[in-house]
Symmetry: D2
Subunit: 98 residues, 4 copies
C-alpha cells in the first residue's frame, strides 16, 4: 500500500534548536532510499507503507540516541485505492486551479 | 520501543457519517490485543511500535475494503527513554496539578 | 461556526515533564467557560470558533509566560453544516456500532 | 504573537478530488496578504496569530459554501519567544546540517 505522508518530529527537552535532529531524520530517509521533500513544518514522504514507517521508527531511534529523551511526532498519512498519486501530483492538482 | 499514540482516521468521499469505519478500526485494535481508548477526536493507543503501526495499516486496509476510496489519517505518536509511562499516567500527571 | 477540536500543546526546551503547562491550559479553558475533556493525547474542546481559538492563543501566552520558550501545538478541528454534533455525539455514534 | 503554521484542510463527503477546495483556501490566504507556501500535505503559513486564524476560519466558511458539508482540518502551529524565525529560516537551519 502506497502512502503520501507528512512527518513532523518534535524533540522535547532537547534544547531550543532541534535542526540537528531533523537533519539526522533526513539522513535516515536518504539511507532508506525514500523520496522525500523537506519543508518548514515537516518532511513529505512518498513510498510503500512498511518502508516509510520503518524509516520513521528508525528516525525515533536515532533522535533518542542523539540525546533527545522524549519525542512527539505528528504524522499525516494518506492512502487511496482509486488512483495512483505522487506528492507532485497533489501539488499540481491544486496549482492548476489557482 | 513503546509508543503512546493518538489515531484519527478520516475517510474521504465515503459519506457524511464515518462512524462505521471508526468502529471497524476499533475492532482491529481489539483483535490486535492493543490497549486503546476511544475519544471524540480519535483513539489513544498504547503498545509496542511495530504492533501499533501494523494495526493502523490493517485499519487502512479494512476501511478501504469497506468502500472508502481515500483516507487521510492523523497520528500523534510519543516515545520517551527517560521513564515508562502509560496513557493513564499522562492524564494523571495533569490532573494532579489542576 | 461551531467546532469540535482536539488540542495537543507540546512545550519544547522546557523539561521532561510538561504536565504543569497542560494543567495551565486546562485552567484557561475553564476560565473561558468552554466544554472540554482531557485525554492522554490532548484535550477535546467544543465551542464557537472564535471563543475556542482565543482560548488556544491564551494558552500559548500562558505557557510562554510560565517559562516555555517554544511551543509546537497540534490541532485537529472539525466543522460541519449538515447537522449539530457534540463531542459526546461523536463517541456515541461509534460506540453504537461496536 | 507570530506563528509558523501548517494547514491541512480535509473536505469530507465532497468527492474524491478536493483540489478545488484547497485552491479556494489558497485564494483566501492571498486575499489576506499572508505569506504562504503550498506543499503536498498542506500549506505553510507565516503571520500574526489573529490574522492567520481569521484566514483559516474564512477558509472553512468558503469550503462549506462551495458544497463540502463537513471538514476536518489539521493544524500544526509553532510559537517561540526566544528569537524571530521565518518559514525559510526553519528550512535553512536543517539544510545547513545535511
Amino acid at each position: 500500500m502506497k502512502v503520501l505522508l507528512n512527518l513532523q518530529v518534535v524533540p522535547m527537552a532537547a534544547g531550543l534548536s532541534v535542526s540537528k535532529f531533523i537533519a539526522a531524520c533526513e539522513q535516515v530517509l536518504v539511507d532508506a532510499g525514500l523520496h522525500h521533500e523537506l519543508h518548514a513544518n515537516g518532511t513529505n514522504i512518498e513510498g510503500e507503507w512498511d518502508a516509510v514507517f520503518a524509516a520513521i521508527r528508525r528516525c525515533h531511534e536515532v533522535v533518542h540516541e542523539m540525546g533527545a529523551p522524549r519525542i512527539q511526532t505528528f504524522i499525516s498519512v494518506g492512502t487511496r485505492i482509486d488512483k495512483e498519486q505522487s506528492l507532485q501530483d497533489k501539488v499540481d492538482s491544486v496549482v492548476r486551479q489557482l
